[in-house]
Symmetry: C2
Subunit: 453 residues, 2 copies
């Protein structure tokens, strides 16, 4: 048996895990669970800074504070990287109701990011409800013109991974207004992207197609959507009213915040670990994505605290503007290209601060296979789901240069309860789940640094 | 390749999973996720009935309601099974503070289940803080007599599985008062069994050893414990005061509630799926263990709804009195023995309504190996942790008769945030996580019924 193990070790070569790796990884988890800092940092970011939509004062405070935080950690270099970002503001709180005869029934809505305002007095019109763009097109301009289109296709609750359910529904939010405007609609209302049944509207980015009128669009809570749908069946002629005064201002100056520990052997090879610093304006952006940012800083802190001197340069990047422009992610990749930086790998946490389940990998089959050899070391920590998958929006632009991308995959069941709402608050984050995520990312970064890809 | 698969199928024989099993399991999850009932049932049990400590009016209401619920589901047989249970009552809300000079600092406590009251005016005494029973014994009677012993060993936060951390600390709660009384202490205060840092005291069962004075004992919140510990370092002579008027009344009549679907081929072989219906008195017993009870009923509902006619008899059992006596579990096993019932397997859910991770199995190596062949069918649903492990307190007594036990293992990170506190409420349960647990249990029961053990 010993001979066999020796033989396998020789065959596997330097890429295979060494016995000491399991001890090292254990020490990473111990540090995160017993003395982790990410949770208290997230408390500050959520409670003292709060919402930080691109271009807002909150976003600027978050830039200043995370730079200071990383400097206090004694990282080898901390710097800002300028990007120009869209600057959309919600304005006054939205108002919405549907009217049957003289009776008005209020429903909770939130303007979608990027939407135009309604007229100051609001817009009121009859409603056509559809589940798909196909259904809308079949109705045709005759039945849509002058109306408000109500997109009401729910996320599929039977998908185990809620991100797949989101992927199957989110086109309504992103492109619904454009599809409706093509047929002469005067507004678009979209069922919130969540499997939860409640009164929280979920905002999020939308974009207007070219050559169509810019009509106002908002998300309605799932309870509101169900009530509207039921009422429409009973009263097809009801009218829907909404008012919002959101606005797109000129692009604003902002920053990615970068901190690094310089590599001892191959400092020119960079491993990025990051999240996005901007958030929607309704809550505190605790899960989306304060969690990922604080976990990224925690990865570097853990390495420093445990005396792990990486061979390669490890960089924590707080990307700006993932939510409504991705300027930070694009700008970072541009910066890397211009400076001839070699990015070996990038790890992003942007799926919430929940219990870790694995990592999705974007890379060549050989690179994926190398990373999947680490499964055995990571499975004891509940990381079973390691294989091909999405990386992350912010790190996506690095793929063009051959960087291997890793998307952190926490348990997805609760994420869309909070996503883009007023309840994405610090209280929704569990300290152990957050810490386990940071430890999982640190363990992966340690393995990438030690064995390459 | 086809030949190889055929060969493997022949070797594996009838125990191996058939292709249709994966479709059947998929339909179980679809039903639970899209049309699951467990969450709304749990809402009723938590909000309309609430706490249901053995012997209380709430426990009786829960017995009546779950019987009615199972009858409404049209199960083949629903019946009550009488057991006599301990009847402990908390009485008036406890009061506690520590005193330094004239300054009193209030701290949150909760009497431990089974504890005696203090004198009506309370008890006040100097404090000795210890981490272990060994440490206490080394102090000896001289330093302990007349004092209140403060057991302050935290649950180990570095254990990935919080139940292991609990196992390493809970002797303080169960036996602390006895150990303290042996050395002449007048009271015992125990750090709450949780890794959370907050103001919620966690109650739970304790027992008095024979031949020692019955001294009052209570749990103190973790924030309270840290404050007391810190204050003791600065003021070793501070005194601690607490008052509680809890009481053990004569045993009360209660019931296990049992519902079954009769097997079509081997009705005499029984598969139990269950949870415990009693709860502590402070919260709503939502995770502990309303979740497990409603999941068990949901397993039978799903089978009925999908037209799965089991070969064996499937029984949902709501056990009474897991928290402070286990009379229901013991009584059920007695009943089975007296009636010569053959229990093939028993599945218990008593670790909260969180995202499923696996099952712990108690059985012979051969039985475990059979069950572990189903891993491949269950892994797509996140059930990776299937192997030797604990079954469950209520089903434990069945093991003597050779029943194979399965303990449902959901993710454990949040369980001890709520366990035995006032915040174990319906709001702490996520509907998807609860539904996934019910589906996982139903899938396991389906496989046991189809292939035996």
């Amino acid at each position: 048996m010993k001979t066999l193990i020796l033989l396998l070790t020789l065959i596997a070569g330097p890429l295979s895990a060494q016995p000491s790796d399991s001890l090292r990884i254990r020490s990473i988890y111990d540090e995160a669970l017993a003395r982790g800092q990410a949770y208290e940092w997230l408390r500050y970011l959520s409670k003292q800074i709060g919402p930080r939509l691109s271009g807002s004062a909150g976003a600027q405070k978050a830039v200043d504070w995370t730079k200071q935080l990383m400097e206090q950690q004694g990282f080898d270099r901390v710097f800002l990287q300028e990007v120009m970002v869209p600057h959309w503001v919600r304005g006054a709180k939205e108002e919405a109701y549907f009217r049957i005869g003289k009776q008005k029934t209020a429903v909770p809505i939130a303007a979608l990011g990027g939407s135009v305002a309604t007229a100051p007095k609001g817009v009121e019109a009859p409603v056509v409800e559809v589940k798909t763009f196909q259904e809308l097109r079949e109705l045709g301009a005759e039945k849509v013109k002058g109306k408000i289109v109500f997109f009401n296709r729910p996320m599929d609750p039977t998908r185990l991974n809620t991100f797949e359910a989101y992927g199957g529904a989110v086109e309504q939010r992103a492109n619904g207004a454009t599809e409706a405007a093509r047929l002469g609609a005067v507004g678009a209302i979209v069922r919130s992207m969540t499997t939860a049944q409640d009164d929280n509207p979920h905002t999020g980015a939308m974009r207007y197609g070219t050559g169509v009128p810019l009509i106002p669009t908002a998300a309605i809570s799932t309870n509101g959507a169900d009530l509207l749908s039921k009422s429409l069946k009973e009263n097809p002629n009801l009218t829907f009213f909404f008012r919002q005064d959101c606005e797109s201002l000129p692009d604003a100056r902002s920053y990615n915040v970068v901190g690094e520990i310089r590599g001892s052997e191959k400092p020119e090879e960079i491993i990025v670990v990051g999240g996005h610093l901007d958030s929607w304006d309704l809550g505190e952006g605790a899960h989306d994505d304060g969690a990922g940012c604080m976990q990224a800083v925690e990865v570097l802190r853990i390495m420093k605290t445990l005396g792990i001197r990486p061979k390669r340069t490890i960089r924590a990047v707080m990307f700006m503007n993932e939510e409504n422009g991705l300027r930070g992610g694009i700008g970072y990749a541009d910066y890397a290209r211009k400076n001839n930086e070699k990015h070996l790998a990038a790890v992003e946490s942007d799926n919430g601060g929940f219990t870790p389940r694995g990592f999705g990998i974007v890379g060549t089959p050989e690179q994926r296979a190398k990373a999947m050899r680490w499964k055995e070391l990571l499975a004891p920590y509940g990381l079973h789901d390691i294989g091909p998958g999405g990386g992350g929006a912010d790190i996506g632009p690095l793929a063009q240069s051959g960087t291997v991308l890793f998307g952190f995959k926490p348990d997805s069941q609760r994420y869309f309860d909070y996503h883009h709402t007023g309840i994405d608050r610090f209280e929704a984050v569990n300290p152990r789940e957050l810490a386990l995520g940071a430890a999982s990312m640190a363990a992966l970064v340690y393995l990438i640094d030690t064995y390459g890809l």
